[in-house]
């Protein structure tokens, strides 16, 4: 793979304050006809980010969408674990030109495609100009072929995470009611609002203990953001609750068996919540 030299394929900085939950052609870096792209991130790890991403991809696929999940957690990828895949070819092979993109894009259970990072990606966990260039090039290449690209980002707010989020037009933050998760989600949203000019971010509350907890948490986060982020005039910021997934038995069983709730427990509350999330994103 050569580094991108085609000016048309290079991204240009763009800022858009368009509503998140509505189907429309998005204004985004390097926007051309092609997939809508959504970054799924969380701040804290272990809150079910990859679980949500994979099941959301399956839910979108069930709605007839062509979906690619890009494992953007270059340092510590585990999308393959969640999906019980044993990939022979990964993003690492594309980076090192041992495989073409076509070879590395694999079908996943759930009816979507994945581009897995692979364990060899640890060497790319630092954001060098080379890594940026390669990632951007790959995103440009796959964009025309899908309706959706979901970026499963790593945990934390490192430069790799922020960079992979910046390639997406929309962001979904996954948080649990745990105080540490809320704090990290808040920090992530704050950085996105102040450093990436995001005016709107979606929230999914995972592992909710009871119905309505998502709404409560979203309101709480919104209140603090109102005070510390959008206090300046012209800096309106909106956190939109896009879903609440309760901590039910089906989720625990699916995770243990490395299955998708969308496939194996389609009637569960969790599957319904993810379906509703897909519905909101499709508008």
């Amino acid at each position: 793979m050569t580094t991108t030299s085609d000016p048309a394929a290079s991204p240009t900085p763009a800022a858009s304050g368009v509503p998140l939950a509505a189907a429309r052609p998005t204004a985004r870096p390097g926007a051309r006809a092609g997939a809508r792209n959504l970054a799924v991130t969380s701040g804290k790890g272990g809150v079910g980010k990859t679980f949500v991403t994979a099941n959301l991809a399956a839910a979108l696929a069930q709605r007839g969408q062509k979906v690619l999940v890009l494992d953007a957690d270059l340092g510590l990828a585990n999308l393959d674990v969640v999906l019980n895949l044993h990939p022979k070819l990964t993003l690492h092979d594309v980076f090192t030109e041992k495989a073409t993109l076509e070879q590395a894009i694999l079908p996943a259970p759930g009816g979507f495609s994945v581009l897995l990072a692979g364990s060899g990606m640890v060497e790319y966990s630092r954001l060098t100009p080379e890594v940026r260039d390669k990632l951007l090039h790959i995103v440009e290449m796959v964009r025309p072929r899908f309706d959706w690209i979901l970026f499963d980002t790593g945990a934390g707010i490192s430069d790799v995470v922020l960079f992979s989020i910046s390639m997406a037009s929309d962001v979904l933050v996954v948080a649990t009611p745990e105080p540490t998760s809320l704090t990290d989600a808040y920090a992530t949203i704050k950085v996105l609002a102040t450093q990436q000019d995001r005016r709107e971010v979606g929230l999914l509350v995972n592992q909710a203990n009871r119905v309505g907890e998502g709404k409560l948490i979203c309101g709480q986060l919104q209140q603090v953001l109102q005070r510390f982020v959008s206090a300046k005039p012209g800096h309106s910021f909106k956190l939109e609750l896009l879903g609440e997934v309760k901590n039910d038995l089906s989720v625990r069983q699916a995770v243990l068996k490395r299955q998708l709730v969308m496939e194996h427990y389609p009637g569960s509350d969790a599957a319904q919540a993810i379906k509703a999330l897909a519905h909101k994103l499709l508008g």
């Binding site: 240009t12 900085p13 910046s166 105080p179 450093q195 000019d197 309101g219 005070r227």
Partner: protein
């Protein structure tokens, strides 16, 4: 097209008034008209008082830099600076003296930076400098050097008095992410300038890293309701 039909009187007058060199080509030839247009572009991108790049042109330079940084991954620094207590100079010594101070500061700034850097006058006593390929270590040094150079100035004003002024500087490094804008970059640098002013002026404040810290106040507010709920 015959250029003789163009109404160029005002353009020529403006250029002459600004002391711009008129093209040497045969008047009204295509080359000559191009020369006039180039001279007008040059004129409209500069600040009349200091000869520095003006705000309009600076915003274009900054947008180009955001674009370049997003692609190349190189670092860049934006500095915003402001002459401290400038209003007092105007009030005590008159506007002509104020203009002389602005010109002297502009010249000093231009002498400190590298040829690749762009120094602009973006407001009354406000300046902005974009420094491509400028990393964190060098950024702090150059900002401090700019501040020192201005503070060493002894500016003779018409009344025969000599004035000394200081500047406050705020700076922010270009974000290395795709999604940003020159406006956002200026806001971040501006916040640091505000900090430098608030901390007592005649100093430099640079945004060193992504501010992802959550203060105790923020945490308190974040958990206020959830705690009430569980009680």
């Amino acid at each position: 097209m015959d250029a003789r039909h163009l109404r160029l009187e005002l353009a020529l007058q403006l250029l002459q008034q600004a002391g711009a060199l008129l093209p040497e080509a045969e008047p009204y030839s295509q080359e000559w008209v191009q020369g006039i247009l180039d001279a007008l572009c040059d004129l409209s991108s500069k600040d009349a008082l200091t000869g520095l790049v003006n705000r309009r042109s600076f915003e274009m330079a900054l947008a180009r830099e955001v674009d370049r940084v997003a692609r190349s991954g190189e670092s860049a620094l934006l500095l915003m600076l402001d002459i401290d207590h400038f209003k007092a100079v105007n009030d005590s010594y008159g506007h002509a003296a104020g203009d002389q101070v602005i010109r002297a500061v502009a010249e000093a700034l231009n002498q400190v930076v590298r040829p690749m850097d762009t120094v602009a006058r973006v407001g009354g006593e406000e300046f902005a400098i974009v420094l491509p390929k400028c990393g964190a270590g060098f950024g702090a040094t150059v900002a401090e050097r700019l501040r020192e150079r201005v503070s060493e100035l002894r500016i003779e004003v018409a009344s025969g008095q000599t004035l000394a002024v200081t500047v406050s500087l705020g700076g922010a490094f270009a974000p290395e992410w795709v999604r940003s804008s020159s406006l956002l970059w200026m806001e971040r640098a501006d916040r640091q300038l505000y900090r430098a002013k608030a901390e007592g002026r005649n100093r430099t404040c640079l945004e060193m890293q992504v501010d992802s810290l959550v203060s105790a106040e923020e945490k308190g507010m974040l958990f206020a309701v959830t705690q009430q709920e569980s009680e």
